[in-house]
Every structure is written in C-alpha cells, then in structure tokens.
C-alpha cells in the first residue's frame, strides 16, 4: 500500500527540502519506489537540492491543468533508479494548485509508487494545506528554537483537523524530526533540549539531525546528504529516521560533540 508522507513545519528554513531529499533517497536505497513532490509553487528548490534543476520540462501545475501527463513531468534520479521527482512550477501562481487536481495526481501516484513524499512550502497557505491534505503520515521538521516549535504546534493542529484523514475521523501518523541540533549549545543550556521539544509538542520523535557543514556541502553540489557523504553524521541520522519510517526499531542516538579542544580553538572548518 502506497504511503503519502508530508514533510512540513510551518516555519521556513528549518530543513524541509533537505529532509525530503535525504529521506526520499534513503527509502529508495532501501528498495522502495519513491517520488518526492515539490509543493512550493513559485519558489521551488527540491529540484536544485536533488541536482535535477536542468532536467525540469513539465511540472506539477502543468499536470494539474492537463497540459502534460504525469509520466511526462516525473524526473527519474540519475543515481537511484527507484527515485523520482515531481517538480513545482517556478513561474505560476500558487493559486493554480487546486484541491481536485492534487487529489487526482496523488491518487495516480499511489498506483505507481510505494512512497509519495510531499515537500511542503513554509507558511499555512494553499500550497502548504494541499501538501498535507492527502497525507497518511507527517514528518514535522522542527529546530530546537522557540519560533520553530510554536509553528510546529500550529501545524500539528492542522494535521489533526484539515486533512482528509482527520475529516474522516482517522489520524495522520505524526513524527517530529529535530534538525540543526547543536549538541554543544544544548549542553550549555542555550538551546531547547530534545525532551523539551517532545514534551511541548506531544508527538513522537523520528530522529535528530545534527547541525552540520555536510548538509550545506551536499546542497551545493545538488545531492541528498545521504548520497553525497553517507558516512557523515547527518546522513547516518537520516538513514536511521528512514528505517524508523519503514517500521524498524532503531535506537535513538543523540548526536555528541566530537570536536577536540584544538578544533574549538581553531574554529570550524569551512564548507
């Protein structure tokens, strides 16, 4: 049975697109047939993070409006044959997305894929609402910081009321993914801890992605971080998160500071 998973947050810049790309690539590596769908009409970026920006011909809006067939708009990843991208439109208005159109596309994608990962735009407007509308599961990307946690709480409320599942009296399965977690700052009490975030949001944890230069480096070259540097701390954390999505029980590893005193004195290595 295909699963529709929305990657959402409310707040911008917390790591939705990075997480969509990394989780999508990992699920594909595990043998699942995956499509990642960009809902950020007008500000698409998933194509860029996936390294497929020069291969976009048709997009989600073209399919909604019947200009292109779904199969024409889907872009197959060059590294993983199980991974596909459905890009957003860069030029159209977000109002071009319609509930009816998205409903049809999601239904069609369900027949072709095991996982449909919807990369939500920031905010709570049409694109974000439609990205979550047909979700079976949700990953709420949250930074351990007050404004991100507040926005995540709002989004959780919407997942519980504005989705098709919620309207049918069912529940969207929700997971919190903590990103940009800085161990040293958390240890000094300068950053909300994992327990604080989970207790406030009352939602189970999918994973903890450490703040890392590796994430920026991967997006610079257009590769999901899990493919670009599989041994890096964020890549390993994303793989664990993907395994949990697959139903595996994986021990939660809180990232630890690996820097020695000399690293601290010399400052961080540039990306």
């Amino acid at each position: 049975m295909a699963k529709v998973l929305v990657v959402t947050s409310g707040k911008g810049g917390v790591g939705k697109t990075t997480s969509t790309a990394a989780l999508g690539a990992t699920l594909a590596q595990m043998g699942q047939k995956v499509v990642v769908v960009d809902f950020d009409v007008g500000l698409r970026n998933l194509d860029l993070v996936m390294g497929a920006e020069r291969r976009v011909v048709f997009d989600l809006i073209n399919v909604v409006q019947g200009v292109a067939k779904l199969s024409q708009a889907l872009i197959r990843d060059k590294r993983l044959e199980n991974l596909w991208l459905l890009p957003a439109s860069q030029t159209r208005d977000k109002d071009a997305l319609t509930d009816e159109g998205i409903s049809k596309i999601i239904a069609d994608l369900r027949t072709r894929f095991d996982w449909i990962l919807c990369d939500s735009p920031a905010g709570i407007e049409r694109g974000a609402m439609l990205a979550m509308r047909y979700a079976d599961e949700a990953v709420i990307v949250t930074n351990p910081e007050v404004s991100s946690v507040r926005d995540s709480d709002r989004i959780i409320g919407m997942l519980d009321s504005k989705t098709v599942k919620a309207e049918k009296g069912e529940r969207v399965e929700k997971h919190v993914l903590i990103t940009r977690y800085d161990t040293a700052r958390a240890a000094r009490g300068e950053m909300l801890g994992i327990e604080d975030v989970l207790e406030i949001l009352g939602t189970p944890l999918l994973g903890i992605i450490p703040e890392s230069q590796d994430v920026l480096r991967a997006s610079n070259v257009g590769s999901p971080v899990t493919l670009n540097d599989a041994g890096s701390a964020p890549a390993r954390a994303y793989v664990d998160a993907a395994r949990r999505l697959m139903g595996e029980t994986v021990a939660m590893i809180v990232p630890v500071e690996r820097k020695g005193l000399m690293d601290r004195l010399l400052g961080r290595r540039a990306a």
């Binding site: 007050v146 946690v149 507040r150 709480d153 000094r188 009490g189 300068e190 961080r268």
Partner: protein, 105 residues
C-alpha cells in the same frame, strides 16, 4: 566565535529553561483558541443573515469592526442600505405554516 574564558569557567545562566516556560504558556493559550471561528466573522455573518431577512443587502457592504481600548471596547456595525432598498414582502417572510419561504437565506 568561541569565548575561551566562558568555555573553561562555565556559561551565563542557561536560557533554554526560559524558552521552555514561555513556549508552554503561549501554546496552552493558542491551543485553546484553535478551531474557534473568528469572532468578528461570526458576528458579521449573523448580522448579515438577520438584516437580509428583511432588506435586500449587498453582503460586501456589511462591515463589523471592533476597537479595544484600555477601559472600553466598542463594536461598530456599518451596514449600507441601498437607496431604493427592496423590502422583502410579508409573504416571503412566511409567518404561517405551509407558506412558501422564497426570501429565506
């Protein structure tokens, strides 16, 4: 970037507990409001429905505003009635059982 004395001699008072407490208070409040329709929108819809039962109105011309002052709050209702307002007939209002209610919203 790194402040050496602070690294060795401990940090300022941790700010995370403050963040946690502020969030808990704020979210308890916001969760209470969630799902309730906006009060002004609700008032506007009901006022419009009531007046429309008697006079034909342009729904765009019904404005409801609320001002909150330190001591007094005011609710301002501004309804523009067309110059030759069409008054709904008594028959349309349907006072008796079995009558046809053409004018009802």
């Amino acid at each position: 970037m790194m402040n050496l004395p602070r690294l060795f001699f401990g940090s300022r008072t941790a700010s995370a507990p403050v963040a946690r407490e502020r969030l808990q208070i704020l979210l308890a409040h916001e969760r209470g409001l969630r799902g309730q329709p906006d009060l002004l929108e609700l008032l506007r819809a009901e006022i419009l429905a009531t007046v429309s039962r008697h006079v034909v109105l342009d729904p765009e011309k019904v404005i409801v505003r609320m001002d909150r002052g330190d001591n007094v709050s005011t609710l301002e209702v501004d309804i523009e009635v067309p110059m030759f307002a069409e008054r709904k007939s008594n028959a349309a209002l349907g006072t008796g059982y079995g009558s046809t209610r053409t004018g009802a919203p």
